[in-house]
């Protein structure tokens, strides 16, 4: 399998977007190649860190939206 295609499948696998055949391809590559397994672990580790960032909207901004929702209610 060409390298770019495998990289795409590994990324889809990381984000749970593979079909059965792609899942098998990704898991086989990870199980059989320590380099790929290492790269996959690093990508997964970095991706998991991204989910820690969430900023709340300022209260005034949120209230403006909620007020608009109330004002336009029939």
């Amino acid at each position: 399998m060409s390298e770019p295609l495998l990289h795409d499948i590994l990324l889809l696998y990381l984000y749970n977007e593979t079909d059965l055949s792609e899942t098998h391809t990704a898991q086989s590559a990870i199980d059989s190649d320590p380099l790929i397994a290492g790269e996959f672990r690093e990508l997964a580790h970095t991706a998991s860190g991204l989910d820690r960032l969430l900023i709340p909207a300022p209260k005034a901004c949120l209230n403006a939206v909620l007020n608009y929702a109330r004002a336009t209610a029939s």
């Binding site: 770019p4 977007e17 990508l43 970095t46 998991s48 960032l53 900023i55 901004c61």
Partner: protein, 194 residues
């Protein structure tokens, strides 16, 4: 007693049938993802506030007008609206936001921190600041795909359609984004706790 959490789709359906309260619940459920996504793209607090409000006004008007298409996830639809407003804004200015230094990003001072002891909160704050600064250093296209996948819960297929590129290009951008983030973590000798 704990009530079962309704899905977005159930809330939208209830709203369309006349239950006004569900609209507020939808807004409050997703405000952080929407605000974070806009802020990471535009990097300007006042502009983020404007686009955030404009996004939800569009959402409310579309729902009230009965034009909401129920295909796909609600949050992805909202984030697509926000994304289009960001793009429209920068098209008008004919430039994308530049990566600037971080001192003015005081919005992060108002981050809601989880309950826990002081040490946990300081740690959580440090991690958020690290992650935000790292994302800021990515090129726009990479930042865009990171935001769409991680905050808008969009699939790569949806991201490709939304950004008018092939799915391979969207995947390539995400891969380079993760590799670049990893490099930045190493260069800055940070510890990205997962």
């Amino acid at each position: 007693m704990c009530k079962d959490k309704k899905s977005d789709q159930e809330l939208v359906s209830a709203f369309l049938k006349g239950n006004e309260e569900t609209l507020q619940e939808l807004i409050l459920r997703h405000e952080r993802k929407v605000y974070t996504s806009i802020y990471l793209l535009v990097k300007d607090r006042a502009l983020t506030d404007d686009i955030f409000q404009e996004t939800f006004i569009k959402v409310i008007n579309t729902l009230r007008g009965g034009h909401y298409n129920e295909e796909g996830k609600f949050i992805s639809w909202v984030l697509r609206i926000a994304h289009n407003l960001v793009i429209d804004h920068f098209r008008g200015q004919k430039r994308m936001p530049m990566v600037r230094d971080t001192e003015e990003y005081s919005v992060f001072d108002s981050l809601h921190l989880p309950d826990g002891n002081a040490e946990d909160r300081i740690m959580a704050e440090q991690v958020r600041n690290q992650v935000r600064r790292l994302i800021d250093e990515l090129p726009f296209e990479q930042r865009e795909v990171v935001i769409m996948r991680h905050f808008a819960d969009m699939s790569f297929k949806e991201i490709a359609a939304c950004t008018n590129v092939s799915i391979n290009t969207a995947l390539g951008r995400m891969r380079y984004a993760l590799i670049n983030l990893r490099k930045l973590v190493e260069e800055k000798q940070l510890v990205l706790v997962s």
